[in-house]
Amino acid sequence: MSDESPTKGIKTVSEQHPVVNDFCLTISTVNGSGSATANNLLLRALFRMGIPVSGKNIFPSNIQGLPTWYAIRLSKDGYLARLEKDDIVVAMNPASFSRELEYLVPGGVLFYADDIKQEISRTDIITYPMPVKKLMKDADVAHNLRDYVANMVYVGVVGQMLGISLDELYAALDFHFKGKKKAIDSNFVVIKAAADWAAENLEKKDRYRVERMTGKTDGCIMADGNTSAALGALFGGLQFSGWYPITPASSLAESINEYLPILRKDPETGKNTCMVVQAEDELAAIGMTIGAGWAGLRAMTSTSGPGLSLMSEYLGLAYYAEVPCVVWDVQRVGPSTGLPTRTQQGDLTQVYFDGHGDTQFVMLIPSTVNECFEFGWRALDIAERLQTPVIVMSDLDLGMNQWMTKKFEYPNKPMDRGKILWEEDIEALVKENKDWGRYLDIDGDGIPYRTVAGNKHPRSSYFTRGTGHDEYGKYSEEPDVWERVLDRIAFKINHSTKYLPAPVISSNGKSDIGIIMSGSAEPAVIEARDQMKAKGMATDSMRIRSIPFNEDVEKFLKDHERVYVVELNRDGQTRQLLMVNFPQYAAKLVKVAHTDGLPLTAKWVRESIEAHEEKLA
């Protein structure tokens, strides 16, 4: 250790207010160095101590060698949104060292690998050098594993300095390595050595620490949205998933594969009840999925913007031919390849208007990891009920990052397979002398009855086509037939809201100000509203969970003088869709939209709204 104190001129620990369980810790590493394991250990250990935490991985589109950051936010009040500044930085990457310093708050803390010999320009921070190389040399670790295990040094040092118990770190290792003793122990030995070194050699000079707490994480789990969506779909009876790799959606399909053997062996025979097929591209992934949906399987694909673009034509066919299927769009930053490893709510208008001709797609928008699970199964029910594609709008932040969330709840209703006729159903219709046609609206709700391949009744079959067809599936180019069928489909979609998740409305005092958001914009809005409330400004908020818009959306617009629409894109796409649907309220809608690849922060949301309010005052 250097003789010169790097903390000259700033208050000593005893002079400062301690900051407990309420700060942001960012770890800066080189991607491909295996830091994900170390970061997840810290996150899970903190969560196990009862502290609300969220972890955001800010990573490059690269396999090895570029800077990557992992931001862990601890929030005793339970806020999960991103913070703009870091309280603590762990710097393991010389290439981004100077940048890390800029993001630290005054009085912040810098842990760094002591082989980084760069000038520390800040004098208002506390620094802790870590002898990573030396500790690794002393540790009894196989040479080829050293790079990976090196990250355990900062786990041990940071854990020691903040007050994370070794027991919790051990338990987190046990979770991560699924009980594999050898892997757990080889990592733990380094963590322990690093923690011991820190206890002996570092003097605590900063104000940050963690404490075990209760009440905020009860009944909560820690998971990512993609895994949860996969699990939800498996509990929803998913039978077919055709997919093609794309960041940030790949881990959704991979999770289906991972949990399939555990969850979906037939209880009677031990054989499989679900197929996962990696397609040659997204054109094929959606083709397979629609084929499977048409044949009566609960079918789903998962992709992101570029893949979704390729799926448009088949989705249009499925809309018109009325084939149920589910598409998860884990959104990333576009247009084009864009920022493939960063997050955005950028596909809302694309999906709403997807396909040529007059179409309208049913969209579900989850905000939490728990809701990803719920929409995982509900989307399959809705698709089969409405006989139409259902697009679930997740995003990279929700899908790939670890979130504290409520436990998954078992589906609260039986599976809805929709209006499907098997042999005995058709026989009954024939006996009652009732008419049946694939596209015949018997019940007056715009939803016809369908049969699927494999039905052996001679009257069951029909020919499915994207070309003009009448109520019996017969080819038709008659003008009135075309219009009648398209109008019925519009009626079906427009009357679908009773099957869709309703918006969630919240009020913190009587207010003329409404805030609308959806998806992963929610955490920043929750926190911003609390901040505004603390300053005396009450607001109402509505989180949209599905499109076509519920009737409550119109009421909310009607009941508020100004409605801020907060979202993570450039053009204010949710606001655009609201304007198309409710032109009478268009003038009330204020765009609060922003996209730079990173999740929204409460500060930005609050300041944007306050700035607009000040203009009015």
């Binding site: 979770f175 789990i221 820690m222 998971a223 699990l231 509990f235 929803g236 009876g237 039978q239 077919f240 055709g242 555990i262 969850l263 979906r264 037939d266 209880p267 009677e268 025979t269 054989k271 499989n272 009840t273 197929m275 097929v277 397609a279 591209d281 054109l283 094929a284 992934a285 083709g287 397979m288 629609i290 084929g291 499977a292 048409w294 044949a295 009566g296 399987l297 034509e313 088949y314 436990k407 998954f408 078992y410 039986p414 599976m415 397979r417 098997w422 699927v452 391949a453 494999g454 039905n455 052996k456 009744h457 001679p458 069951s460 079959s461 029909y462 020919f463 499915t464 086509r465 994207g466």
Partner: protein, 349 residues
């Protein structure tokens, strides 16, 4: 399910009690004399003779004249007319619903050899158990006469000029992609076509059947080289593309194995078909490559069963699926238990 046939005891019934008419489709709306109509007829004949129940067959197609034809056979089978070049993915997904069904996909050269090349190759390498018919006429009919990727170099078409590029050989592409069944026939050779169809339907894997199927309307070149060799002077070039003269369907007499037969097409050109030798061994992949290459160098189209490998597991076998069709599984077998979810929740704590 055979009551409709039973009501007509005077007609010839097959072993499953069905008449040939039970295998029919809607009347064709393709041009009179189109080779595709002959193929539809032979599918009807083959399935009738094979005693297959129409409800056990499922039909697929992409986009183009060829892809309209699944409506011209097997009215009682389910069918799905998908997107251009994307019939294979649709078929794979749909057949997953009930793997006991026989799949028949009908595509064309425009559908499979251009946009569909990727999906064509991939359904082959997966060995999805279905018949994949390419109704091959070297021309885009439905958009009125552009070159397809199987058109031979030097072919001249009205409005299009001269084709500059070497053709895609459907059978060679299938063989390279490790197809387990590769055959070629001619729409006007009903006996060979029906026999190859039967073999293809019996094959438990992907069965690629390239059927040369002359376009009566647009393949009206005045000079031609390579496989669609020029025959005699074109007497009546079509002036109006919308005018389609009624023509007789081209059929040829049966001919011996190992011999060649010249066939005059509607526009006066000829193609040279060569039947594989009687002692040709279709299980020898190397031999199959050689035969295709030799035929290419002689401007001949080899017909017959070019390659078969019946010993390869089909696509669905690798999934170890339940025995009954997936699409008949009840919810109780699809939704894991509450206990399974509790265990997961405990794991994620």
């Amino acid at each position: 399910m055979t009551d409709s046939a039973a009501a007509r005891p005077q007609v010839n019934l097959n072993l499953v009690g069905l008449a040939r008419t039970d295998y029919r489709g809607a009347p064709s709306t393709l041009c009179q004399g189109c080779g595709h109509n002959g193929i539809a007829s032979q599918i009807v004949a083959a399935l009738y003779e094979m005693n297959l129940v129409p409800e056990n067959v499922v039909k697929f197609s992409g986009i183009g004249c060829s892809s309209k034809s699944p409506t011209y056979f097997l009215n009682r089978s389910f069918g799905f007319n998908g997107l251009h070049g994307r019939m294979p993915s649709l078929a794979l997904g749909a057949m997953s619903g009930d793997v006991s069904l026989k799949g028949i996909g009908v595509s064309g050269d425009g559908d499979s050899a251009s946009i569909g090349m990727g999906q064509f190759k991939h359904i082959i390498r997966r060995n999805v158990p279905m018949v994949y018919i390419v109704e091959n006429n070297g021309v885009y009919g439905l958009t009125k006469g552009q070159f397809s990727a199987t058109a031979e170099k030097g072919l001249e078409l009205k409005k299009q000029g001269i084709n500059q590029f070497l053709p895609v050989d459907i059978c060679a592409e299938a063989l390279v992609a490790n197809a387990t069944f590769v055959a070629r026939s001619f729409a006007g050779d009903p006996r060979q076509l029906k026999e190859l169809l039967k073999a293809a339907i019996s094959h438990d894997g992907i069965a690629v059947l390239d059927v040369i199927s002359p376009c009566v309307t647009f393949h009206n070149q005045e000079t031609s080289i390579h496989s669609y060799a020029f025959g005699k002077d074109h007497e009546m070039p079509l002036h109006e593309l919308s005018y389609v003269p009624a023509r007789e369907e081209i059929t040829i007499e049966d001919y011996e194995e190992g011999t060649t037969r010249e066939v005059s097409l509607h526009d006066g050109s000829t193609i040279v078909l060569k039947k594989l030798d009687k002692d040709y061994n279709p299980t020898d992949r190397m031999q199959a490559s050689i035969v295709l290459e030799e035929a290419r160098s002689k401007n001949e189209l080899i017909t017959g069963l070019i390659y078969i490998n019946p010993g390869v597991p089909n696509f669905f076998e690798s999934f170890d699926l339940v025995n009954e069709p997936l699409n008949r599984l009840q919810a109780s077998r699809l939704r894991p238990s509450k206990q399974a979810l509790d265990e997961l929740n405990a794991m994620f704590m």
